[in-house]
Symmetry: C3
Amino acid sequence: MAAASAPIKPEQANSSAKTKQIRVSRRSPGYWRVTIDNPPINVMGPEMVRQFQELIDALEADEHVKVVVFDSAVDGYFLNHSDFLAKLEDLTSLPDGPTGLPPWPDFLVRLTRAAFVSIALIRGRATGNGSEVTLACDMSFASREKTIISQWEVGVGMVAGGGPMARLPRLIGRNRALEVLLSSEDIRADEAEAYGYINRALPDSDLDAFVDGFATRIAKFDKWAIAQTKRLVNTCLPPDVELGAGWDACIASLGRPAAQEGIKELIARGFHRPGDVEDRLGYYLGEITR
Amino acid sequence: MAAASAPIKPEQANSSAKTKQIRVSRRSPGYWRVTIDNPPINVMGPEMVRQFQELIDALEADEHVKVVVFDSAVDGYFLNHSDFLAKLEDLTSLPDGPTGLPPWPDFLVRLTRAAFVSIALIRGRATGNGSEVTLACDMSFASREKTIISQWEVGVGMVAGGGPMARLPRLIGRNRALEVLLSSEDIRADEAEAYGYINRALPDSDLDAFVDGFATRIAKFDKWAIAQTKRLVNTCLPPDVELGAGWDACIASLGRPAAQEGIKELIARGFHRPGDVEDRLGYYLGEITR
Amino acid sequence: MAAASAPIKPEQANSSAKTKQIRVSRRSPGYWRVTIDNPPINVMGPEMVRQFQELIDALEADEHVKVVVFDSAVDGYFLNHSDFLAKLEDLTSLPDGPTGLPPWPDFLVRLTRAAFVSIALIRGRATGNGSEVTLACDMSFASREKTIISQWEVGVGMVAGGGPMARLPRLIGRNRALEVLLSSEDIRADEAEAYGYINRALPDSDLDAFVDGFATRIAKFDKWAIAQTKRLVNTCLPPDVELGAGWDACIASLGRPAAQEGIKELIARGFHRPGDVEDRLGYYLGEITR
């Protein structure tokens, strides 16, 4: 079970010149780990989105993978909100994926519909994009002590872009989905578990062994049986166009004064760098608005 | 945050000659409170249904409202079953609402689809109509000690008229929805929370401050972002025709001997006035039937 | 409340020559009990499937039945996996039911859509078929100490044939449904209750009285009101074709080497007879695969 570091596509040495923000290792041919690594606060910018596209291409093309676990190498953050210091054009100019959706919702839709199993191992903040990956994965297990999950967008005048409006109501019911989305509050692991937002919260000291055991177990099962079972479960999914509509609303929200002023004021208070605003984002969203 | 009493439509002084059963106040332009006030037991008759129509007209026409909280001024009752001492014709002769549905399901559908946020603050019994408003609201928070919620209709030979057959299965799963509907039992706040029937149960002493803080927070957020987020969540709603079908079944049930005899026997035992039958309705439903 | 033993169809004395694996009694005209009784481990073979067809024919034809409770006469097992010692042809050669589906999914679909109420009283293992009957019933109540429920199929290289891919995501959310299906783990009553997989777990000593009281209560209510309420709730059901697709995938899986070898190895270890492999099936599924 030694972890072999495996570049996604060896021939793309050029793009590897850019920092690897998503590292892939294979614990076995059937069991991959994907480690998100963009310190200091694991924001997601255009380059990470591009790497998620490479990742899903590689996963879909692999005959052997049965289970992939997403985790983080950055202390305190599973995966954070988007990079607001990057140029929006660098994101919106990325080509659409094979589903016809822009690359972020394209990645999420393909991950959910994939023939292999995806698991989010959450430790630290899963804000915005981190929550959206969690919801796109087939299952999620979180550190009871160290997890905070949130869809913070409405609190800053935005609309979420990665599908929580489509996915959360079907997972936790419309009323709790609206509470999560419209309050924009930080949610701790126990509450997320009680709502069914995550599969389970586990003691931090048990989490890694639990997820590794779980993934190792599934990786021994028959890939055809896994894929058929997922295919039949996936009839319950929202249509992909709903994720496209959410993405469009998100991009539209970024062009409006409410979001621009909200993000500007948050940054003035310390957002987007390590510190109290990132640590207690839910609280500060209630402070910035008039 | 002084509460300014605000008549819904000042020009309608005539109808205000009738008792105001629904009082509206604005804590701020963005934050309205609607207080249900029909003592002694907060039943809903044709006049209250008419006032709910006025309310939703006013809310939809207002540019500023972002959140509305429903509460009660009647001790022990959030909102109770229908008024069985009123003439049914006074209800069924009310004109259909803009959705084409009769006024009660019309109000509920419009509340759910509205661009603003609706919150039920529940203290006391939410029986029948009270549960239906709760399910139509975007969120609900309830007194842990003082809340009883139920759909009692099947127990008296009726079918519920305000949409729980359409809404509950999507919120708490079909099997628990059927338990709620077919048992017709009284459900306490803790169990309602465990099932996801309400968002959360809170200690009675904390409830008002919690809901007020929650509503005040949302009222500071951007209305466009709220409305877009709700619009995208609302793809998960049952079609409005399902509420129409439920209403039709309810009216049909009222014309059948089972319901007529059930209601008559309940009234003979003390139903429809303060006392033990109203307090423990679930128990008495098991007693009246042969 | 004396239990009167009632043959399903008195004229079918011939088939009664075969062992009665499903015993029906009427506690009252409105309240039936169905007791599954195929010792020693309550597997479901072709004969039991045929008897489930007889049962649902009888239930649908009866004017008086309002509620049916399913329980077991076999210690330790509510209803277990299929009989792998029977000839598959004896199952697949049974004629399709009135829905056009093969008899097992036909029975499950008709039970769910029936005008009467169905309740699973679970004590012991509900593995595979036992879980599928539970999900097809309108409600389920389980012994807290003695219940283990699971969909074990993927762990042995199979796909489940009685609809859990269609039903579980709508009941407990897609992510927990996939955890149940893809882990193939044994699930205890407390966890099943927390996930909403069953309605409630009760102390073993309270379970029988609770379910009997619950069924007796509902049996006093008006059948028309029950049927109309169920009809309106049933708009949330997955289309029947989804259960047909699951059945087809199950039969296909049985023809593949993965399942054939998995079942063979399980049997070599003690599966299909009383003992540790049946008692801890989830554990052994993790052991047999390479």
